[in-house]
């Protein structure tokens, strides 16, 4: 870990969900949430378990009508194998829509298949990261991802 300063939570807007985690495996999700909570980001993330619901959240529709698109997260971590609508289709719709195309989306997947990687870049993914098998390694990858996209990367004014 190169940047070891704490996440400056006091600088974050308390009403903003900063991290959207789209992940259907409860084991992986639990591990990601543990890291996110350890970084003091409780209340700044939302965990969504299927693709259709992810789209509802990001486009503020059906169950999320009141969540409004103004709640622009700083990063979306997107698994590829999801129930219902799969990750690549979620990515395609997010990157095709003017309202959401500038959202940083990182595919976080166990797939190392070149056709998945290529398709994700073709659709405009910001970054593609593979999940290590070991949970300790996955924790450090997730921590690095959170630090990079929350501390280093700048996004347009919300």
């Amino acid at each position: 870990m190169i940047i070891n300063e704490p996440i400056p939570v006091e600088k974050l807007d308390p009403d903003q969900i900063e991290i959207v985690i789209v992940e259907d495996s409860s084991k992986v999700a639990e591990l990601i949430l543990r890291v996110v909570r350890r970084l003091n980001l409780a209340g700044r993330y939302i965990l969504i378990k299927d693709g259709g619901e992810a789209l509802d959240y990001l486009f503020a529709q059906t169950n999320y009508v009141n969540a409004a698109v103004r709640r622009t997260p700083r990063v979306v971590f997107l698994d590829l194998k999801l129930p219902g609508i799969d990750g690549l289709e979620v990515l395609r719709r997010v990157k095709l829509d003017e309202r959401t195309k500038n959202l940083p989306v990182v595919v976080l997947s166990s797939s190392i298949q070149e056709n998945d990687i290529k398709t994700a870049y073709d659709l405009g993914v910001n970054s593609y990261v593979t999940k290590p098998n070991q949970s300790e390694e996955l924790s450090s990858v997730v921590e690095e991802l959170v630090r990079y996209w929350l501390l280093l990367n700048k996004m347009p004014a919300r």
């Binding site: 190169i2 940047i3 195309k101 500038n102 940083p104 190392i112 070149e114 990687i117 290529k118 994700a120 870049y121 073709d122 405009g124 910001n126 970054s127 593609y128 990261v129 593979t130 990858v141 690095e144 991802l145 630090r147 990079y148 280093l152 990367n153 700048k154 996004m155 347009p156 004014a157």
Partner: protein, 150 residues
């Protein structure tokens, strides 16, 4: 014979010699095997990336692991370089990180509209800048997986 330019890993497009030295030093520090090319203006950067002009002998358009792109560049500015990279089928999947001193929303918005992968501002203090570059190296060389058929 394989042209040595066929295996470039990191393309740094930066006209400030101090910043360029710092960036190349950090990128070289941990792994001497990474091939780095430094390009000092936007026109040469485009020639290199598209194998044109003085780089026309490069057989193919290259797919580096990451391009670090400054915005204020001589000849062709960074936003236009980004626009060319991201609108060409041969280069659009190359990860491009804007690394600039500008934190103006107009620049950030323009970069995202063109499809930048990430936008990072240069800290003023040398030590902070070195740390940011280390983090960029770690993220884009070790964590991110580029497409091999970009």
């Amino acid at each position: 014979m394989k042209n040595q330019n066929d295996t470039v890993d990191i393309v740094i497009i930066e006209d400030d010699p101090n910043d360029a030295e710092l960036i190349t030093r950090v990128f070289r520090k941990h792994n001497l095997a990474n091939k780095i090319i430094l390009l000092e203006d936007g026109a040469e950067a485009l020639d290199f990336l598209f194998a044109e002009g003085k780089y026309a002998q490069n057989s193919t358009v290259l797919s580096p692991k990451v391009v670090l792109l400054d915005l204020k560049l001589p000849k062709v500015n960074g936003i236009e370089v980004l626009q060319r990279i991201k609108s060409d089928e041969r280069t659009k999947n190359i990860p491009v990180v804007v690394l600039t001193s500008s934190s103006e929303d107009r620049d950030i918005k323009a970069a995202y509209d063109l499809g930048v992968n990430s936008y990072v501002t240069k800290p003023i203090k040398f030590d902070d800048f070195a740390q940011v570059v280390s983090e960029l190296r770690l993220y884009w060389l070790l964590l991110n997986k580029p497409s091999e058929s970009a």
